[in-house]
């Protein structure tokens, strides 16, 4: 594969490699109608397409994009041709166009976006996307394409699916270009730097920008790309912008080429051509401009060639630190060190957010069932929202990265890892750290992770190194290395350092760059082994300053068995950071720990002008004694709307609970329930206080006295109160309280889940166990779950007329299965008559009514 890239560059003889130009305008000019399936033109009008491509060859193109941009199964459907036929035809046509050329011409399989958005925003699953691209890649390989170029991509997740498909089904060179707005982001928010971070990790051969804008507007984005990447760069700009009324593009060949001149200054610039609105004369003039006159183009292409051979990496490093947006001048040794060999900054990312490890960054540790009964219960009950809430809380508390561990006996860890990773990345925008001792779960998590993650972890054991590191390399992740080996935890700094060296050497042997390895020097409990704290610090300093590696540390072990643990923890954290700890793994909800991090950032000039510190603590007041406990997220005090008609009454119900819930006051609801728990058991509180309070609110909603937001505020307050009770029950181990299990799902084809989520909140707060199967749910999954969990009530939601068929199909599948259950349907376009007609037992017009129906079904 590398040989092919090298060959292409060598053929260019140190000059820019010229690609082709636009097809659409040329097809129009040739008088061809694109119709509904333009991709079939290669079969319907092969001579015409070949003629256009030949003009590009004559203009100087040495890579032709075959007309396979949209030839994926979703788009080809209904055209009368298969993916295989179209791709085979397109590659042949391009090959024909190249015949008899006076220079070597390569034919690329061109892969564009599928045309539908991937989850979580669309309905297309990541796995299906990989499959769709894999079919194209296999067809391209069979047709004899020389390389694969993905272009006009806007979603980095879709790109990842395509790259994996290409790598798993071919060994062809792979170039990827995405389309950017002037802001330097794609439509889905992908930044240039995230694209570089992910695609360099996945091992593509060239990276670039195409379409969307003219050369002048792309230039600033290309400059950022040039600074961030170490790969050869590819640019295919549009001929300006199209006039919506005439469809014509703004630039002619001369002005296009004029605007392309500044690109010669970009050292990584290697491949270039034109996109929409460009024609053979653009390419001919571009080729002349860039490649005429000795020397001018040399630097660029030569630089590209070096990168391929892996010899030059210097320029890229500089680029990466420029990305951070913080001061780049700061050297990065530990605070007190002589700065012998400071680690290079490392970039990890989501598509929209880059985290540069050039100073202390916090890894949140809360998504982990170890020792947390409530979390274990959530995992067993598939309560993904509980986990998401933990994710959001940690990010709001200041976590830069989230550790994700879902390992629990009896849980299918790989599939749970996939579910949780997908769910977390749909609600928060921080990079993830995939944490598992099971290589299968690690790979499953890495595969679906959107962005560049970290793997937690490897250690010095050969077996672990050789099973995990190849996966880390394949998916381009960073990895933690724990200083443990077959002999257990070493007692001296020296031994830990030698294990770190072994891990480093093994990682390098797998092609994992040094900066992607983070070493954990282990913190041991000082109440048992007091001398170990200093050994840990000594090891951190050496690994960081001498070996030049980033360091990571789970801090809180240090104080185990001691009183006032957070004092020891935060002090040790400060000491560790001063010795070169980059990535503390802590609970970011713990104020003392975050205080240590924020003050450390201010003291070490990372937080410039102490702006972050001031922003956080400007309103700080020394704590008055015994301030009332405040629950996170309780700031939502004011209820919506004007249903504020004095304190409500409900017979038998605790007045404080009733008041708090009906006014949607979360903190008040929690403290009222806490007070009640002193005198009453959990179940009685649910039945005598919480549910009557919710009933009262529901009545007011029915009567039109309050509106949906207030109903949900009340449910939110009841939810906080329920959480107190659930925690109490989980801790006592007496099994969960449930009035019955209900499945909720938005049906296949539909992704509007707000209605379903409203119903869920209400039902949960009535004490039902809701199995939320999410949106776009396959009927079979609903049937299987209903049978497996013996669920007696299934709730289905659909928002659109086009997705009511999915509802009908699901009801039929449930009936056909013979499983005894009631079905309740709801959704905007649904009427009672229609719901009953398609076989539902109940129609609920709103969430409140669904609670009444549940009561009827379960008799409570």
């Amino acid at each position: 594969m590398k040989d092919k890239v090298r060959e292409i560059l060598e053929n260019a003889g140190g000059k820019y490699v010229i690609l082709d130009g636009g097809m659409g305008t040329m097809i129009q000019a040739a008088g061809l109608e694109e119709g509904e399936h333009p991709e079939t033109l290669v079969i319907r009008e092969p001579e015409a397409i070949c003629g256009i491509q030949r003009k590009y060859v004559e203009a100087g193109s040495s890579i032709l994009y075959s007309c396979t941009f949209r030839a994926n199964r979703k788009r080809v459907e209904g055209s009368g041709y298969s993916v295989e036929e179209i791709i085979n035809g397109a590659v042949k046509v391009a090959r024909q166009a190249a015949e008899g050329a006076d220079h070597k011409v390569y034919v690329a399989l061109d892969i564009g976006p599928i045309g539908e958005l991937l989850e979580p925003y669309g309905t297309l699953s990541f796995e299906e996307a990989v499959d769709i691209f894999a079919e194209m890649v296999r067809a391209g390989v069979n047709a004899g394409a020389d390389l694969i170029i993905m272009e006009t991509m806007t979603d980095l997740y879709e790109v990842k699916a395509a790259v994996l498909a290409a790598r798993e089904n071919s060994d062809l060179p792979l170039f990827v270009t995405m389309s950017y707005e002037k802001s330097g982001r794609t439509f889905t928010g992908t930044t240039v730097e995230s694209m570089v971070c992910v695609l360099e990790g996945l091992g593509v051969d060239a990276i670039g920008i195409n379409c969307s804008l003219g050369p002048d507007d792309i230039l600033p984005v290309a400059e950022r790309l040039n600074a961030a990447t170490k790969l050869p760069m590819l640019i295919k700009a549009n001929a300006g912008l199209p006039d919506p009324e005439t469809g014509e593009y703004g630039l002619n060949a001369d002005s296009f080429v004029e605007l392309m001149k500044p690109y010669k200054k970009l050292e990584h610039m290697t491949f270039t051509g034109g996109c929409c609105g460009t024609a053979p004369d653009f390419i001919e003039k571009l080729s002349k401009e860039l490649n005429s006159g000795a020397g001018e183009g040399d630097g660029a292409a030569a630089a590209g060639e070096d990168e391929i051979s892996g010899e030059s990496a210097e320029s890229a490093k500089a680029g990466v630190s420029a990305v951070s947006g913080e001061s780049c001048a700061r050297e990065n040794p530990s605070v007190f060190s002589m700065g012998v060999s400071a680690p290079e900054s490392t970039v990890i990312c989501t598509p929209t957010q880059v985290v540069t490890i050039d100073s202390v960054k916090v890894i949140g540790e809360r998504i982990n069932p170890t020792g947390k009964k409530r979390f274990q219960q959530a995992l067993r009950e598939n309560d993904i929202d509980y986990i998401l809430d933990q994710a959001i809380q940690q990010v709001e508390a200041g976590a830069d990265i989230l550790d994700v561990n879902v390992g629990l006996p009896g849980i299918d860890e790989p599939s749970m890892m996939v579910r949780v990773v997908k769910a977390i990345q749909s609600v928060v925008d921080v990079p993830l750290q995939i944490d598992s001792s099971d290589p299968v779960a690690v790979e499953a998590g890495l595969r679906v992770c959107n962005g560049k993650p970290i793997v937690n972890s490897v250690n010095g054991k050969d077996e672990v190194l050789h099973s995990i590191l190849p996966i880390v390399k394949k998916y381009g992740a960073s990895v933690l290395g724990l200083c443990i080996d077959e002999e257990g935890i070493p007692q001296t700094a020296e031994k830990r350092i030698s294990i770190a060296e072994k891990i480093l050497n093994t990682a390098l042997s797998y092609g994992i760059p040094k900066e992607d390895l983070f070493i954990d020097c282990l913190s041991l409990t000082i109440s048992a082994q007091q001398d170990q704290a200093l050994e840990t610090l000594k090891a951190i300093r050496h690994v960081h300053d001498v070996m030049g590696l980033h360091t990571v540390l789970g801090v809180s072990n240090i104080s185990f068995g001691l009183p006032y643990r957070e004092l020891v923890n935060s002090t040790f954290l400060t000491m560790a950071m001063a010795n070169g700890l980059d990535l503390p793994i802590i609970n970011p909800n713990n104020e003392a720990m975050m205080n240590a991090v924020r003050s450390f950032r201010a003291l070490t000039c990372v937080d410039r002008d102490c702006l972050g510190y001031i922003d956080k603590y400007a309103d700080y007041k020394p704590q008055a004694a015994a301030a009332p406990a405040v629950v996170p997220g309780s700031g939502n005090g004011s209820p919506a709307g004007s249903g504020d008609t004095g304190d409500p009454v409900a017979p038998g119900c605790d007045p404080a609970v009733l008041r708090a819930i009906s006014k949607g006051l979360k903190a008040d609801a929690v403290s009222a329930v806490n007070t009640l728990l002193d005198s009453k058991d959990e179940l009685s509180i649910i039945n005598d206080d919480l549910i009557p309070a919710l009933d009262e609110v529901g009545k007011n909603f029915e009567a039109g006295k309050i509106f949906l937001p207030q109903l949900l505020n009340a449910a939110g307050a009841a939810g906080e109160a329920f959480e107190v009770i659930k925690k109490r029950i989980a801790a006592s181990g007496s099994g969960a309280v449930s009035k019955g299990k209900i499945i909720l799902a938005t049906v296949k084809g539909d992704i509007h889940d707000i209605g379903k989520n409203i119903v869920k909140v209400i039902l949960e707060n009535y004490g039902y166990t809701v199995i939320d199967l999410g949106k776009d749910v396959d009927p079979q999954l609903i049937v299987d779950t209903a049978i497996r969990e013996d669920v007696k009530l299934v709730g289905l939601s659909a928002l659109m007329t086009t997705t009511l068929v999915g509802m009908e199909e699901t009801i039929r599948a449930l009936r056909d299965s013979g499983h005894d259950c009631r079905i309740i349907c709801g959704g905007a376009v649904l009427t009672k008559e229609y719901a009953l007609k398609i076989g539902a037992d109940y129609y609920a017009k709103d969430a409140s009514e669904s609670a009444s129906i549940a009561k009827e079904v379960f008799g409570a």
Partner: protein
């Protein structure tokens, strides 16, 4: 080109109506959600202008242009709307997927906030479409021309699947990041596709009442048997 609309506004009274909260006064919670939505909006739109053939005997109307050939606009209602029009604008607009992300995040944290934000986002896309229509109206007026109302797939008898054809015609994925799924759902969620006629005489406001309202599928007033009266 001066076809730029960078700001969209949430009309809180309208958002309250979408929530079924009628004439209530906006609370701090609602005002905060509206601000979050406005910040998350990334308004984008694209359009093309097509020539129209005269209405056929079957009461249908077709568009044509150089690259896409001739194609029929589905249904009789659109033919009625465009009967005086020689050309039409086919447009697509979105406030972007940042808003979808916001609503998703809120629905985990607090469903009430999510419902409010969803209503605010519906108001925001409506506001964007109104700004675009106004821009077209002014352009048309400069040439002494008049516009019809905006007509979207799903209105009247225009099949909702025409959304996919519009997405292809306008290359919405490439131009504004808008895609349409197999079941005709648009992503980003708060997006609109529509047809507007360009006529040489003033056009009556034809579209009023629930039949052609794009909120009719979600309208809580309609479900309870009343109308919003707007």
């Amino acid at each position: 080109m001066n076809n730029k609309i960078t700001q969209v506004k949430v009309h809180i009274d309208e958002a309250l109506r979408y929530m079924g909260a009628g004439q209530t006064k906006p609370t701090a919670q609602i005002i905060r959600a509206a601000e979050l939505v406005e910040e998350a909006c990334r308004p984008r739109f694209t359009y093309r202008v097509f020539d129209l053939d005269p209405v056929s005997e079957e009461g249908r109307i077709s568009c044509r242009d150089g690259s896409s050939g001739t194609f029929e606009l589905p249904g009789k209602d659109i033919a009625g709307l465009l009967r005086d029009s020689g050309r039409c604008i086919i447009m697509a607009a979105t406030i972007g997927n940042e808003v979808d992300r916001l609503i998703r995040r809120l629905s985990v944290k607090d469903m009430a906030d999510a419902v409010i934000a969803d209503a605010c986002a519906s108001s925001a896309i409506e506001d964007l479409c109104d700004s675009i229509s106004e821009m077209f109206r002014r352009k048309a007026a400069d040439s002494g021309l008049f516009l019809t109302d905006r007509f979207s797939p799903g209105y009247g008898d225009m099949d909702i699947s025409f959304q996919r054809r519009i997405a292809d015609l306008l290359q919405t994925q490439k131009r504004i990041g808008l895609t349409v799924s197999d079941s005709c759902m648009m992503t980003p969620m708060k997006s609109v596709t529509a047809v507007i006629g360009i006529a040489d005489r003033p056009q009556p406001k034809l579209i009023s009442g629930c039949g052609s309202c794009d909120m009719r599928d979600r309208c809580t007033y309609r479900k309870s048997g009343t109308t919003c009266g707007s």
